[in-house]
Symmetry: C2
Subunit: 234 residues, 2 copies
């Protein structure tokens, strides 16, 4: 909930947005739904659980069902706009949304604090595509972070088969390949990739709570109500 | 910078606020100042470095100089309003600010995700003060988190000697004791401490960057500009 709320409060400052919240769950999380309603941000809540067969894998393709579910919703409901895959634990400067709003096909821009390299960005020389900077290049045509690109809805609708593969580590690469675009054709945003408007921040996980809150001495107090909220958060 | 920006974007949704940014530094950070100016949030930027003598200690009283500096500014410039000590890595639901706005003397409320207990909160029974729930009680009269209380400016001005002690672990307790208030007199907010509107989230520190960005092959590219921003962030 804290990450959802913090991200929502960023989106509250962004005009003309539709937030697709794709939940990796089989059942509706009513705390999330209630908060989204309260937030007044135009939104759609989707249940997009990871298919069972991928849950068995040691390295799971996390977030693919969510993103493909979101793409399917866009294909059915949108005719214009720009799609951006936002994780709720990243940090977004609201200027990012103003930048990507004018994407014609596919745009890219730097992402801070990713991997040991500290940055993931296209490399430009004299304003033109020159290569990639990313902590993990491997055999990827597009070694970029999920937060480092955006796609126009109009272009997505033309690329009818574009989707994200269930292939851990190659989610971005596979999706961008399926968009049939070449690096030279990409629109480079954020002052030709010289500004950072998104950071791959991650929130520290707290260890499991000691649950001393369950002690009977707290019966009949406000802690019995707070306890339920803690269960949701942990 | 990401934490400052994220917190600023929360404050952008809060009306009638004055943000005192107290920096633990001897020299102005112009990236911070430029961002504050851009943000349009009414603010004051203070340089409040930790005195040298405390820097020698193994357990440092972090943030005391900042908070006392902020209090001094408030005593000189404010006649009404409410003081709240906000760390930029915590997560604040904007409803918190609406709650504390009506503090007459000292208000308190639950803080989520603090210590192994998962929560820090006053314990209420039948709406009245009953005790404390906190991961670390020790010999504190007020075992509460820095994010768990607010003080009205009018009351602060009456308590002319109230300030925060340079005593690691006892910053909140010492400050609240200096306000000469008893637990029974505290105003309990957030639906009588049954709702969580602030969380003690912490951002994972990335390891030191590998600095492969310094390789000469990136000379003449956008990475030379991005590199400077990375230095600031690390």
């Amino acid at each position: 909930m804290p990450e959802l709320i913090r991200f929502a409060q960023t989106l509250m400052n962004v005009p003309n947005i539709h937030w697709i919240v794709a939940d990796d769950a089989n059942t509706t999380n009513y705390d999330v739904v209630d908060y989204l309603t309260y937030s007044s941000i135009p939104h759609t809540y989707l249940l997009t659980p990871m298919p069972e067969k991928y849950k068995q894998l040691s390295i799971k393709p996390k977030g693919v069902a969510n993103r493909n579910g979101g793409l399917m919703w866009v294909r059915e409901h949108a005719t214009s706009g720009v799609v951006y895959f936002a994780d709720d634990d990243n940090t977004y400067d609201i200027r990012l949304f103003q930048e990507i709003r004018y994407t014609e096909r596919v745009s890219m821009f730097p992402v801070g604090l990713v991997t040991k390299a500290g940055l993931s960005s296209p490399v430009l020389k004299n304003g033109k595509f020159h290569g990639w900077y990313d902590g993990w290049i491997a055999k990827r045509k597009f070694p970029v972070d999920m937060a480092g690109f955006a796609v126009s809805v109009q272009y997505l609708l033309k690329m009818q088969n574009a989707e994200m593969p269930y292939k851990a580590g190659y989610e971005e690469d596979g999706f961008l390949r399926s968009l049939k675009i070449e690096p030279e054709e990409i629109e480079f945003k954020a002052d030709k990739c010289t500004k950072i408007y998104v950071w791959h921040t991650q929130t520290k996980k707290n260890g499991p709570s000691q649950r001393t809150i369950l002690q009977s001495k707290y019966n009949g107090t406000n802690l019995r109500i707070l306890e339920k909220k803690m269960m949701i958060e942990s």
